[in-house]
Point group: C2
Chain length 323, copies 2
């Protein structure tokens, strides 16, 4: 162990694993990485930390953890419509466990290579297990998908299905009746929690179409709430239109809807678009996104349930109150 300094650790496990990009002039191994920025676009950055027993269980598959650590950052780039390029990794470990590190780095590298993002720097430290990753991408500054562009009358969409990760979390915490699901459901739901797919391709296609976007990390109500707050608008959501997976629908409808509204970790996109893009969106994203409501002048989020209106409290997952 003593011959693995922080420097060689990062080099040994990670340097050769990710895509090599021409715009990396100097990668791991100096005081800084040196990176060539494209002209006419702006740098988009986001940093996220995953902490043991807060964001993941101690017995999580390290390969899945490597995937998720990068996926949450790439999901932020997706939500801006940005093209991903590089990431840095600050890894804090209680000890150097070679099998764990190998699996973790493989999960990380597989996702990185899928989207051609290169690891360009890092810091490995001894301490309680946590992972901070910063992602770097580029986007046209005039067309970036910000949170503050939603207008009254815009349609509201979400990608794929919601609530699956939340169901998996509740299953793991024995807060859901296990018997609702067969083994295939459990595998599907667990994979949705542990290996979220960053919707980078969808995000980039939404450039020029969406008026606002966010990724759903804290739950639809909380994250749509951020768009509403930043855009100074309200919304109506049709509960019957919430996209729910076949697995989730094995629960009571009310419970499934509650998970879709309030549980986090799905890393799907929620976006708004002017109604004149309706046909274009239907054609372009067939089956990949669902229209769930409309931007209004209401105060916050109003849901439509059996033709009745109900105002929702804007509350999602809070790392300091619920963890």
């Amino acid at each position: 162990m003593s011959d693995l300094s922080e420097f060689s650790l990062i080099q040994h496990y990670f340097e050769q694993l990710t895509a090599k990009r021409d715009d990396v002039l100097l990668g791991i191994g100096d005081d800084c990485a040196l990176l060539q920025c494209p002209e006419d676009e702006v740098l988009a950055v986001s940093i996220d930390t995953l902490v043991e027993n807060v964001h993941f269980f101690s017995d999580v598959d390290p390969e899945s953890l490597g995937h998720k650590s990068l996926a949450v950052g790439l999901s932020d780039l997706a939500a801006m419509g940005a093209k991903p390029k590089w990431f840095t990794l600050a890894l804090t470990l209680p000890e150097v466990h070679e099998v764990w590190l190998k699996k973790f780095s493989q999960g990380l590298a597989k996702l990185a290579n899928e989207f051609k993002v290169q690891l360009v720097g890092g810091d490995t430290t001894k301490g309680p297990l946590s992972i901070s990753i910063q992602v770097h991408g580029f986007v046209d500054p005039e067309k970036a998908l910000r949170r503050d562009g939603a207008q009254v009358g815009d349609l509201i969409y979400v990608t794929n299905t919601l609530g699956d990760a939340g169901a998996a979390l509740k299953l793991a915490q024995s807060e859901l009746v296990n018997e609702s699901f067969d083994n295939e459901d459990k595998r599907y739901l667990t994979r949705r929690l542990e290996c979220p797919t960053p919707r980078l391709n969808l995000g980039q296609k939404l450039i020029g179409i969406a008026s606002a976007a966010i990724d759903i990390s804290d739950g639809l109500v909380a994250d749509l709430g951020h768009i509403l707050e930043k855009s100074s608008v309200g919304s109506r959501i049709d509960l019957a239109r919430l996209p729910l997976s076949a697995s989730l629908l094995k629960l009571e409808r009310a419970e499934a809807e509650h998970l879709a509204l309030y549980s986090g970790d799905d890393y799907e996109l929620c976006f708004t678009a002017p109604a004149n893009h309706y046909t274009e969106i239907e054609d372009m994203f067939q089956g990949q996104c669902t229209r769930i409501g409309v931007i209004t002048n209401d105060d916050g989020i109003v849901v439509i349930e059996n033709d009745k209106l109900k105002s929702l409290k804007n509350k999602g997952y809070d790392h300091f109150s619920n963890s």
Copy 2:
């Protein structure tokens, strides 16, 4: 506590504290920050983590900790000769302690404002105390101070004095005789450990002069060793020329030299420069740096002690073996 989500935490304590820069198109509060990159220069990035009881003591002054958390990153930019622009902060805290957060953010902001670097994003999470900061700067790619440019015959310099932070650490751990120092010495040494000064101005002035540079975080022998390894050269260091503070010189000379060679955390710069820059460097950096040796074909680091040569083992602080 429950009303302080991770988002509002960062906003509440940090958003208003740091310099506002025109090149920040979108700062804290969206999925990503959007940042305007200058043309003709490349992005330089570095990420560093400080962990409680590994990099700092639990009872450290939070204002100093805020300063140091940013200083170690800015020191990496200094070592590339880069101009600093932005930083991100991933802060993991066991609880929301308002007094601590206020002091920590003040220490951070004071240093940030001194160098006009803006906080552009972050993540605040519950967990064991640790701080990851990524710094972003820009530098001419042809002139950046890399580690691999040292040539045989180049002179070796360090800025200011070495070993002070190491002495403070040993004092705190009761491994040095307390009586060697008066209260003023102790204040000076502790400040050197807790509030290092990133040598950004010196680093930028070295552009076009230095052939290689590194900041001394792990000790002179370890960090000069990185330059030697990357440049495929060796070095001779004249022990009598090591710059030692008046406080450090209250120790036995051999002990002071040992600290200057092996102890980390000084965050001074070590750089090499062709001998024809000798007069320019003497004139430009009067009293701010000291010539300590020369790049050679030796194997690693050879020290000159009383006209005798001695080979040093290339070993500095290792976070996994010594912490």
